[in-house]
Structures are given as C-alpha cells and as structure tokens.
Symmetry: none
Subunit: 202 residues, 4 copies
DNA sequence: GATGAATGAGGATTCATTCAT
DNA sequence: CATGAATGAATCCTCATTCAT
C-alpha cells in the first residue's frame, strides 16, 4: 500500500520523502522493526543524511504521529462545525463519516498513529494524547446531547462512544483496493451502524 | 498488565514461563522491539537457555499466535454450538459475547495475535489465518441466516460482519481494571450493539 | 610470518589492512577459527567498521582467494608467454619456477587460497575454480607437447601433471626464513625435479 | 567421502563412532568449523554424551592426529624393514609406495593429521611432531645412502626429501573414486617419480 | 545538504562445557 | 551411558548515531 500523507502537511523535498518512507516502513514493521538505513534506502539517500533533516529516528515517528492526530482533529472539528445546530443524529453521522473517511484515506498513517504511539517518550506523545482526548470528547458530547434530546437511547453511553470510535479505527486494518466498496460506501454504512448503536435509526 | 494465557494450553515449566514473558513483551513493544535477552531476563534464565525450549524468537511468537487463534476458534465454536437451533439474534448475541469476553480475558494475547502476525513467515502464519477465516465465516453465516429469516435488516452484510468483528477486537485495546465495568457488562452491551447494527433490536 | 599480498592488488587504506589481517589469521587458524573481532583488532578498528568495507567475513576470504588465484594465473601465463616457442622442457621449467616462486613469495596467500576455498559458497568459489583449471591446462599442455615432441617420456601424463602441480603447492607449507635456501634456489631445484619427473633431464 | 580409520585402531562402540564423525567433520570444515553438536548429531547421541567418552573436543582431534601419525610411522617402518638390505632405490620406492598408499587409503585422516595439527595445544601436538620427524629421517636416510652408494645423484638432498614427502601428502587432496586410477597405479607411478627425482631411474 | 568511515551497544544465535537426573 | 536443561562466553552482524570532509 502506498504511503499517502494528508495534503498540505507534507514538508517539501527530502524531509517529506523521509516522512513517507518512515510511514510505510513503520506501518509494515513497527517502529522497532524499521531501521534508519531502510528508510534512507527507500528515500535514496545515505543514512547519515537523514540526520540533517530529523534529529533522530524517534522524531520521524513523532512527526508522523503528530500529523496523524492533527488530521483527525481537523477533520472531526470540521465535521462538527459544519453540522452545528443540526440534530444530534445528523451530527453523529457526520462525525462518524469523517472518522471513517480519515481511515480510508490514510490507513497507514492511522496504523502508525494508533499502533506506534507507545514507542514515543512521554513528552513526545503527550500532545497527541491530548488531541485524541479532544476528539473523544467531540464524539461524547454529541452522544450526550442526543440522549438529553431523547434522540438516542443508551444504557451505557461511555461504552457506546468507545465502540463507535473503535469502529472507525478498525477500518484502517482492512480498507484497500481489494475491497469492492468505495470510501463513501463504507463511510455511509458505518455512519448508519453508529446511528443504530445509539438507537437513533428507528 | 499481567500476561494471562488461556487455561490448559500453557506448557509446564520454563517453556510456559517463556511464553508468558514473550506475551507481555511482544504486546508492549512489538515483536521487533522485544529482545530475547529481555524475555530471558523476565523468566530468570540465561538467554541461551531459551534456545533449549524454542528454536528461535519467531517460534515463541508463532506459538503465542497459534494459541490465540485456537482460543478464539474454541470459544466461538462453543458459543455457536450452545445456541444451535436458537434464533439468529440469540446466536449472534452469543457469538459477540464470546468474542468480547475473549478480548477482556486475554487482551495481551489478542493484541499480539492480531498485531504481530505480520512478523511471522508465511508458513508459520498460514494456520492462524485459516482459523481466523473460520471464525469470520461463523459470524457471517449467522448474519446471513438472520437476513434470510427476516430477523435482520442490512444493506451490506459484509460490512456489518466486519464492523461487528472489529468491535470485539478493539476491546483488547482498552479493557482493564482502570475501567469500572465488568467483563460481563462490556460483553452484554457489545452484544446489544451488534444486534442494533443488524437492526434486530427493535 | 608476515602477510604479504602481491604488489598492486592490495586496496588502499583500511580495506587493504583488513585484507592483510584476514590473510594472516585465516592462514593461521582457518576461516572458521578466525573471528571478525580478531581481524578488526589486528587492524586497529572496531569490528563493526569492518562491515563498512566488506559485507561479510566470507567476502574478505573471497577477495583473498580471488587475489591468490589471479596472481597464480598471471604468473603462469607470463611464464608461458615468455617461453613461447622454446622447447617443452624449457617451458615446463619456466612454469614450475613461476609456480614455486609464487608459493615462496606468498606462502600465506597460497595456504588460504588452497586450503580455505571450501569455506566459500559455490557462487564465490566458482571463478577461482575456473582460474585453477586454466592453470592446470597450461601445465598439461606443455607436458603433452613434450611427449608429442619426444622430449618427455611418461606412462601416465595426468598423474605427472598432478604431481608437479602438487610439488609447488607444498612449498608454501615450509618455505620461510628458517630454511637456508633462497627462493631462487628452491625454484631451480624444483624445476629440475619436474624435468626429471618427465624424464627430460637425461 | 566416507571416513575410514585404519584397521585395529578404532575404539569399539560409541567412542569409535565419535572418532569417525569427528574425522569427517574436521576434514570438511576444519577443527574450528566443526561443532561438538554436529559430531554428536552424526553419531546419533546427545552432545553432552560425548563428554562421557572424550574430555573435550580437542581430545577428539588429538586422538585422530595421533592415530594418523602412528599409522604413518607403522607403514613406513614396515616398508623400511621389509626392504632392509635392498638397494637404496628399491627401499626408496617401497617407502614412497607406502606413503602414497597411506594417503589413498585414509585421505581424510591425512587431511586432518596434516592440516589441523596447529589447532592442538603444544603438549598434545608434540608426540605427533616427533613421529613426523622420525618418518622424515627414515626417508632422508635412504636418500643419503643412495647418494653415498652412487645410486642417486642430487645437488640438494634436503630439498629432494622435502619434495618427495610433499608428493605423497598431496595425494590426499585429490585421490578418490572420481579418478580412474587404482591406489596401486598411483603408488607405482609416484614411486617412479621419486626415483626419477633422485636420478636413480636411468 | 550530503557522504563514507567510524563506533559502542546491542541484536539473535551458537559455542563448548557442566551437572543433576 | 545417556540426557535435557542450563550457562557464560563468544559468534557474526546490525543498530542508531556522530563527525570530518
């Protein structure tokens, strides 16, 4: 699978190509399993040259993780903003659609962002953890509003939020050209699943 | 988190302790990130001694992955057997409950089983991939039966099966004593989410 | 004994010093008995640095074996060329002299070249084996010509060629400053022995 | 090539099988290149069991080297004894025949005996070095007698002795079923070569 | 920016050997 | 006699990183 970073955030030139190579290799082999020489080899530079662009292997991962989380925050925030004032159901659907599309559009980035965060020292992972919590709150707020409005019906809202978030995350594990569904089809279906989970799809 | 292997499958003595240490370390750092010396250190043996029990680091992982997939197959098969003849909804609930409980009871094993399979050479991963497909079919069959019986209502059964499967898998990422929910509570809620996804919870 | 490589073929700098150290140690302890750390220690570098110059221990041996065989081919070919048109006896003497001098001048290289070839994987030893066969043919042709011309008298030319070749090879086992013979003296005597073996020294 | 030890000297049972396996492996890979586990594996015993028969890997080699040198001494002494009173030429021929036959009959043993002696600590190699010198003297004496009797004509007897000895040693490198010569044919030819070297074959 | 050479630490694995059973 | 488990030392080699050029 090709490593695609979100538009506009990839640094130009060698820096960007290092990031793309790192993304692909970290996704495939994990942070520990990918070597600086592999990354450099994929970029076509000497491994020492990498240090002219990033101070360490960890900083390459850190930038990827940051980009991944920022992209998530951006997309979810936009989705929430665009549906401000709509019913909780419509807003939830928009959030889930955005979340799923994030994972269909950047599956490798999602895999690295979610799966390799543990490899970062706390001071590098902290900002990402905060973004993640922000996003969770975005979702949780909508669910709570839906309950308050009587739109949703849930015994355990926290588990519902967790489940709906998990649904989207899993998409990165399997979405690809092998599947004969478009990103839109998956997003629509998953939004519907979410509405059903909160019992808004009656 | 303590590394707990399913009952009855842990080899006795040093072999079993190696497996437990490997489970914990592979879950925490990934296959490449965990060293043979770390594993041996956790067991309290010299790293060379490990080779009296397993021919390579990969074989330790392979056995863990095999155990994980066999436990999944066992539990799902049992759940299906116990509900043979029941309505598709009851059977789906039983399968999801079993799937979720697998992930609450052995979260580390699930993380390793799902996340480190790629580190195995194909000949060691093939048997596990087949078990995984078996389990997917178990779930898919129930969903199809539910549709045929008019119990379930779904536009895209394949995506629903994927989503329901993904729900359970994600549980391993967060379930733990920090959460004030019992394994049973999570399983019940998730079973209900699954029924809602297939629109059987009307 | 000091490890002396043929003039002009030693790579400059560290690469060459690695080769010389390898030569000495492989000759003394065999390929398996010499460690990469010993070689590096003799050169005065870290053992990891060796891999900046050769991809593996085997490649160090391979280059030595290649140099040894090429030097043999060069010397024998030159000797044959310089005596083109001479009698078979004179040409045989020239070949044996060249062969013996090769072994007095580079005894360690000969020991490694002949004795450690088996340690190389086939794809690395094949070129050397071909050079060796070339040299054997050079000798065999002269002997056959001598027989055809009536200069030599032999029941079993193949065994004679083998014996004469073997004579030279053995020189590397004992020639050294301890012996009070010069390289020229040994070469002259051995050339004479060869002529006697083919019964040209009547 | 099968590892054949001289008759009557192989210890019975496991001890002997260890010796044969060691012979084969030391000949193929050198002392350092052959492992105790390989030897044990070839014998069909656990590697620890080997220590019930030999106190160390070095002692296995030491016994092989001792057997090899004793066999050489035995055969050469017998050849000399059987030709006591004969002309120097006949005795030289007998010695060379015996020497060559030793190397056709036990090529692996010769390779190990000559090529791996350096791997032994001095106190284990000393006895063998003495046997070797004994054999050299046997040959040197005959050559000197031939010169004194006027049978042989040599400028440099020492080199001649070395050359004739070397001839035989080399036989172990190539003699085998691939060659369409019998052991007797090789021995006869080489004896003749030796006589020619000393110029007794006029 | 880029590189080749260098390094100390550590990787997985094998070594010869020991010992309780 | 034989073994399985154990070990400390050593194996080859790769690691991330540095630095002079």
């Amino acid at each position: 699978m090709e490593a695609v970073l979100p538009e506009g955030v990839t640094p130009p030139g060698t820096r960007g190509r290092i990031l793309e190579a790192g993304l692909e290799l970290f996704a495939e082999s994990g942070f520990a399993g990918a070597s600086i020489r592999q990354i450099a080899g994929m970029v076509g530079i000497n491994s020492a040259t990498l240090y002219a662009h990033y101070p360490s292997k960890g900083h390459v991962l850190a930038e990827l993780v940051r980009i991944g989380h920022e992209e998530m925050r951006t997309r979810l925030t936009e989705a929430a903003a665009k549906t401000r004032g709509d019913s909780a159901a419509r807003q939830l659907a928009a959030l889930v659609r955005a979340h799923v599309l994030l994972h269909t559009d950047h599956p490798l980035l999602a895999v690295v962002t979610n799966g390799e965060l543990h490899a970062l020292p706390p001071e590098l992972s902290a900002p990402s953890l905060q973004l993640r919590e922000e996003c969770r709150l975005l979702l949780a707020d909508v669910v709570e509003r839906g309950i308050a409005d009587g739109e949703f019906e849930l015994d355990d809202p926290l588990l519902a939020v967790t489940a709906i978030g998990g649904l989207g995350v899993q998409v990165a594990q399997w979405f690809g050209p092998a599947l004969d569904r478009t990103r839109e089809q998956v997003a629509d279906q998953y939004a519907r699943f979410a509405l059903r989970i909160v019992n808004a799809d009656r």
